[in-house]
């Protein structure tokens, strides 16, 4: 058997399997590269750009760039953190991310990433967009004001649940999430509690109804450890389901 191929990330040698992306190789080696639209079992989308790394001197997204032997990857540099902070700020001002009033607070990946990249203020002007909540479904509601267009729900519903409940529509600044149903409402789809798409949203856009602030402050996912240690928000759902507790 031949020697496994390797790349370096911030000087550390990291092995990878043929076909793996830089993100996959990094995660396998327990190296955190910030990300919002990437999730292990889904085809990468490359839309949030938070995973921007420098590969042999050029910036590219780690989630959809294949690892190739000898690549020198920079990840944890001030310059990259600054870029990520700018991207995170833009996500915050584009939507309505008022953490104190959101039931996802403490368990939200966007909030955790914002802490990780050192974001202390929004910096840019808020768009103050107002999009109506879809609360038509008996068990879930969708707050479009918090959607960061990561398309995780789109991919999960299409590729895993085989229901194709979600899609993106519009272009550029007008891009928005839509529900594929005659009325455009979630109640009109076969979206259900057990769907992968039901617990994949990294922010507080797709939420189980009446789940409230059940987990006390101090015990929420990102109260305990930062996101670079504890990982994605979706993980808590696996644990949460065990306790019959979604948030």
């Amino acid at each position: 058997m031949s020697q496994p191929s390797t790349i370096t990330i911030d000087g550390q040698t990291v092995p990878f399997q043929e076909g793996q992306t830089i993100m996959e190789a990094a995660l396998a080696a327990n190296i955190y590269i910030p990300h919002l639209c990437y999730q292990r079992d889904l085809t990468p989308d490359g839309s949030c750009r938070l995973c921007t790394v420098t590969v042999n001197g050029r910036n590219t997204s780690a989630c959809n760039t294949k690892a190739m032997a000898g690549q020198q990857v920079l990840n944890n540099t001030q310059e990259l953190q600054d870029i990520r902070q700018t991207l995170t700020r833009m996500l915050f001002v584009e939507g309505d991310h008022i953490c104190p009033g959101c039931t996802k607070t403490g368990n939200c990946q966007l909030q955790a990433v914002a802490y990780y990249v050192g974001m202390l203020s929004s910096h840019y002007h808020h768009f103050y967009s107002y999009r109506k909540i879809d609360a038509s479904h008996p068990d879930y509601f969708i707050d479009f004001n918090r959607c960061i267009l990561c398309e995780l729900c789109v991919r999960a519903s299409r590729d895993v649940d085989h229901k194709n409940v979600f899609g993106l529509s519009g272009r550029g600044r007008k891009t928005h999430l839509v529900i594929n149903s005659p009325s455009g409402e979630l109640a009109d789809t076969d979206f259900a509690v057990g769907d992968k798409a039901a617990f994949i949203c990294p922010v507080g856009a797709i939420l189980r109804k009446r789940t409230r602030y059940t987990t006390p402050i101090g015990e929420r996912l990102y109260d305990l450890q930062p996101i670079n240690v504890v990982g994605d928000a979706q993980q808590i759902h696996a644990g949460a389901k065990r306790h019959g507790n979604q948030n």
Partner: protein, 495 residues
């Protein structure tokens, strides 16, 4: 008393604007229209209140409300949290909580009352009360109190901190935590928290006792002044427990007239709209609530510590009850109406809160793990608590998809709106009429308003260093005189 709400010929009068009020949480402005001899012809307190909130939560899912509405105020967020939580309990059909959840809610509320009352008395009012209204502005603040009376100043700081610690142990944070869920609470009290809180409670009770003594002493020390200043005979409204005891968290509505005669009693607060209405006046953003059966002219009332201590038949904790009896004795069993008696009543309630917190900490029910109650969902929920500043109403309607369609809030300060205006008018007539403007004199007006501890929006100005500007405008609208008090306390005059 002469009616000073609206002058007969405002066009010939000078305008004195005093804004913003220092050491009142938020913004307020007093305008005095003064004639050529500096006689006050019209006095109004304008309060800029953040009513947008009712609109803001429309379309939101109901379970977000208790945490969201806390942002209405940085001083008494817990009161909003709890009033909303009670309303939301109703929405999920949990009208009776588990005994443990009930105890935790009450304790959270008392922690809030303790910290808010301590803040108000020691940080905001004691400088005026100890040094007099005409004392140097740079000295007349909590730092001055700490310098001249270190024991009193530091006790104030520690009392406030203890209340905040109670809140933190129950809700996770000192300000804006999460605790109440629709139908209960999100975590039990740990043994560690109980031990930590019990360790200091006797000291807290002792200091609270001393605070009542101090408030009483100050009130009695210059009876002519303290008992006449802002004296106003009014109706009083508060929640009351079934047996007539003081209760800050739950009860029926009790209203008595100035002579202490019952107007209504033990009214289910869900029926509040049958008893209380709000009047809109063109010159103020804040509404004017009144008791329907007495009409707008006679039906306005006061809420808060003075109303509660006057209204209740007894207090359940022994030390506070003894101080209540002294309070009652002082007025020969009648209602005390002087605005500055608010401070005395406030300290009686602080003592009650401290004693009751101890009882709850010693009660094993508080340490239980059964925290949630469930029931049949409905679409309308009303929650009322006695916030530190007075009766607080939260009222919500939701649609079949759980989204809020209507919200109505009557906050404590709104309940006191007319009373504060009347107090301002009275003080204006007694203390400003015929004298030219001085900073100390104008401060009398602020002190009158401050007795009500109005919570005008969300900011704390504990150091009394908000800039203050006073303008005198003649009938043609020209500024003829002005005083500006800067953030450092420096006074500039022009004109």
């Amino acid at each position: 008393m002469m009616n000073l709400e609206t002058a007969k010929h405002p066009e010939n009068l000078k305008r004195v604007v005093l804004e913003p009020l220092t050491r009142v949480e938020g913004h307020g402005k007093i305008t005095l229209l003064v004639d050529d001899d500096n006689h006050v012809q019209q006095a109004r307190l304008h309060i800029v209140e953040f009513r947008g909130f009712e609109k803001f939560i429309q379309g939101r899912p109901f379970w977000e409300i208790p945490v969201m509405v806390q942002r209405l105020c940085g001083i008494c967020p817990v009161s909003h949290h709890l009033a909303a939580a009670k309303a939301v309990d109703m929405l999920v059909g949990a009208r009776t909580l588990t005994p443990t959840a009930e105890n935790l809610r009450v304790m959270l509320h008392l922690g809030q009352t303790l910290q808010s009352h301590a803040l108000h008395f020691f940080h905001l009012s004691s400088p005026d009360l100890l040094f007099g209204f005409e004392d140097e502005i740079t000295h007349r603040n909590i730092l001055g109190v700490i310098a001249d009376h270190p024991d009193i100043g530091l006790q104030g700081v520690r009392l406030r901190k203890y209340g905040q610690e109670v809140i933190r142990h129950i809700s996770g944070k000192r300000v804006h935590g999460t605790a109440s869920l629709p139908g209960g609470m999100n975590k039990p009290l740990t043994n560690h928290s109980r031990t930590v809180l019990l360790a200091d409670i006797d000291q807290i009770i002792q200091w609270s006792q001393a605070a009542v003594k101090l408030a009483k002493k100050v009130y009695l020390s210059n009876p002519d002044f303290h008992q006449r200043f802002g004296y106003l005979e009014t109706n009083m409204l508060s929640l009351i427990r079934d047996d007539g005891a003081l209760d800050l968290y739950h009860g029926g509505l009790r209203a008595k007239d100035a002579q202490g005669q019952t107007i209504f009693d033990h009214i289910d607060y869900c029926e509040y709209q049958k008893y209380i209405q709000e009047e809109v006046k063109s010159w103020s953003y804040m509404k004017f609530p009144f008791i329907i059966s007495k009409g707008t002219a006679e039906g306005w009332y006061r809420v808060g510590p003075l109303a509660r201590v006057n209204n209740c038949d007894f207090i359940t904790t022994p030390l506070a009850e003894a101080t209540r009896q002294e309070f009652k004795f002082h007025a020969g069993g009648n209602f005390i109406h002087a605005s500055l008696a608010y401070h005395w009543a406030r300290m009686i309630e602080m003592l009650y809160s401290a004693e009751r917190i101890k009882e709850l900490l010693l009660d094993d029910v508080t340490m239980g793990e059964d925290l949630m109650a469930y029931g049949e969902k409905c679409q309308e929920g009303i929650g009322v608590v006695e916030a530190p500043r007075g009766t607080l109403f939260h009222h919500y309607q939701i649609d079949e998809n759980d989204l809020v369609v209507k919200a109505n809030l009557i906050v404590s300060t709104t309940n006191n709106n007319q009373a504060m205006n009347e107090t301002v008018r009275q003080v204006a007539v007694n203390y400003l009429d015929g004298r030219s403007l001085t900073e100390g004199l104008l401060n009398h007006l602020e002190v009158a308003v401050r007795a009500y501890d109005p919570c005008l929006s969300c900011a704390t100005h504990a150091l009394g260093k908000m800039p203050l500007s006073v303008e005198m405008v003649n009938s043609r609208g020209d500024v003829v005189d002005s005083i500006v008090r800067s953030a450092t306390g420096e006074i500039k005059r022009s004109g």
